[in-house]
């Protein structure tokens, strides 16, 4: 506890480029960038595959294999290949990390929509796009949001290790603290990242409340 007091009580930790606000902002910046790139790729792809049923097996197998990729190794390799000091390459492992949960859950959600429901939608004269947007997506939304939530949490958590290759973010406190054996910084950084991950979790719970129809939430 006195470690925590030492970390958070130190006025020097609250300002400047090494301060908590600046590090938090950095962390959020590249987490958000990686998350949105992944979502932009995986959500439409998952919907397309779930709706048309084409290429499903390939994608699911690839997504499962991608889960096994060690992010630290990928990060180190990409940064070495691209040259130390650039930001964009760091996003690649994080995007790779975020795509599988979004893709698989979106695909499963859209594909899992009751065949009768799809039939009824077409039978009433909805066009393909209307079926997707008015029926499949609203009904699949809980699963799509679940995929997005898992991805967001993993990105925020894993972005910590970006500090290892010289990037900013909250991971700096942990990595630097480990290197200099300043355990107050390690624990302080850990608490900050954990709080951030919980905040993300909370945001998605709210999003679920707002965006998902009560008629669907009850069914699952």
């Amino acid at each position: 506890m006195n470690w925590l007091a030492g970390f958070f009580g130190d006025a020097g930790h609250w300002s400047g480029p090494d301060g908590i606000p600046a590090r938090l902002l950095e962390h959020l910046e590249f987490s958000a960038a990686a998350f949105f790139v992944a979502a932009l790729i995986a959500v439409p792809l998952g919907m397309l595959i779930g709706h048309t049923g084409r290429g499903a097996l390939l994608v699911v197998v690839a997504a499962n294999a991608a889960r096994a990729l060690p992010t630290l190794g990928l990060l180190v390799l990409v940064v070495l290949l691209a040259g130390v000091g650039t930001v964009l390459p760091v996003l690649i492992p994080l995007v790779v990390l975020a795509i599988p949960p979004i893709l698989v859950n979106t695909y499963e959600g859209v594909r899992g929509v009751d065949a009768d429901l799809r039939d009824a939608a077409y039978g009433m004269g909805l066009r393909g796009r209307q079926v997707l947007f008015q029926t499949l997506i609203p009904v699949a939304l809980p699963l799509i949001l679940l995929g997005l939530r898992l991805a967001a949490i993993q990105v925020v958590s894993t972005a910590t290790i970006a500090a290892f290759v010289g990037l900013g973010g909250l991971g700096r406190f942990i990595i630097d603290g480990l290197a200099t054996k300043t355990y107050a910084d390690v624990i302080g950084g850990a608490v900050l990242v954990a709080a951030l991950a919980l905040a993300v979790q909370f945001v998605f719970v709210l999003l679920d409340r707002v965006a998902v129809s009560p008629g669907v939430r009850r069914v699952r």
Binding site: A65, P70, G73, T160, A190, A194, V200
Partner: protein, 224 residues
């Protein structure tokens, strides 16, 4: 640096089993143990805990919430916290990974038991099964496919996560990443990634095989 190839086979040959504690084969063995121990421990804890959650419904909400919180913690964060308790030992990685495994396995056990159709449960009761036998002979077998699905996820993510432990010196094959980074040398990094993915795919395949052998009926059901 630009002429450095991605793979130097001679380095692999020299470092596969050279007797040093950082030989690839030693790291591999280390990795396997550090990755599987948490899954095993997790399973041993998750089954009774999951059963308890089914038996006493009020237990499930708080347990699920706790597991949800755990799952959202970065592995490095947990490693750092345990570092201050268990020091530079294998436990510092194994204990947090056990929590991650639990976060996946407890819901899997609970969902698995919930997937037992009520008609099956009722007819078992009607045939005169006592609760313990019913659990062992009827409900658990029916729950196996769901539990195994959870086990697959837990195993693959455990294998992948061990490597982060390298940041506190307990990462198995993850140490190759640190080594490669510090020496600006691709080969160890590529070897580490490939071995980890192969390990994960192999373990996943074995679990799929186990599922086929353990639950021959579930395959028939999937095709209908």
């Amino acid at each position: 640096m630009s002429e450095e190839p991605l793979i130097r086979w001679d380095w692999i040959a020299r470092n596969w089993a050279n007797g040093s504690p950082t030989a690839i084969s030693v790291l591999l063995e280390n990795h396997v143990v550090t990755a599987f121990l948490p899954v095993l421990l997790g399973l041993i804890v998750a089954v009774p805990l999951g059963l308890a959650c089914v038996r006493w419904r009020w237990l499930y909400q708080p347990t699920a919430a706790l597991m949800n919180v755990t799952y959202s913690l970065p592995s490095l964060v947990l490693f750092s916290i345990f570092l201050s308790i268990t020091g530079l030992t294998r436990s510092t990685v194994v204990i947090p990974l056990t929590f991650f495994a639990l976060a996946i396995l407890i819901p899997a056990v609970v969902d698995g038991l919930a997937s037992v159709p009520d008609s099956v449960r009722q007819s078992a009761v009607a045939m005169g099964f006592r609760p313990a036998r019913r659990l062992l002979l009827v409900e658990l077998p029916v729950a196996v496919p769901v539990v195994l699905a959870g086990l697959r996820v837990a195993t693959v993510s455990s294998i992948s996560l061990v490597s982060v432990g390298a940041l506190i010196g307990q990462g198995g094959l993850g140490n190759l990443f640190i080594d490669g980074w510090q020496r600006q040398f691709y080969t160890p990094i590529v070897v580490g990634i490939v071995l980890i993915v192969v390990l994960a795919v192999l373990a996943d395949g074995l679990l799929v095989l186990a599922q086929r052998l353990l639950t021959p009926w579930s395959r028939a059901r999937r095709t209908t």
